[in-house]
Amino acid sequence: MKLEKDLVVIDLKAGSKEEVLEAMGKLLIGKGIVKEGFIESILQREKDFPTGLPTEPFGVAIPHTDGEMVNDSKIAFASLKTPVKFLAMGRNDERIDVKVVFMLALKTPEDQLEMLQKLVGLFQDPQTVMEMAEIKDAEQLNELLRNKE
């Protein structure tokens, strides 16, 4: 389980979830991993079906959208310089402070499933969520993911 170095952003500065989604979406579009229009699609999808998870000690978000917007299944990571509010998944208007974002570019449900399952497992451990927010580079993140397997 490994995240590509180019898809790991440390201390992203953003004032809103929209800015986070745009910055990460741009990164994925720039590499041809997703199609033009991905940003609009993921913004709309986040509005309709929010992806903030109320994990401890702060929230994690896993924004994603329809597989048809994706060329190549990959996962991008960003830690946020300061937390931004995301709406909580499956809740009515519950806002949570998110510091860690995994943007999922998935073509089919099976793609990256193993990775996704592992990540979800890690989100349930507050210590790991804390460490994810504080990593300094892609290598450190991958080491963290490796050690927790």
Binding site: I62, G67, G90
Partner: protein, 94 residues
Amino acid sequence: MKKLLIMCGTGIATSTVVKGKVEEWLKENNLSHEVKIYQSKVSDEIGRIDDYDVILSTTLVPDNIRDKVIDGVPLLTGIGIDNMYEKVLAEIKR
């Protein structure tokens, strides 16, 4: 055989993770042979929600079907899992 539907907004990410976890749980509790799992997205299922015996969703569903749906988000956050499985079990055994 009970029909268990797992749904999310796109039918692509969280429902897949939840499906894996529920499959494991069914196996551990010797229920695999009693339950068939379906995976989908909310928009495809709203009109035929009564076809299923148990429904888990990671996304908010419209008010008129909310009573029939169990919140599956605990499987993603780890918070409230036991309570959630109690509800699922009650529906399977009903």
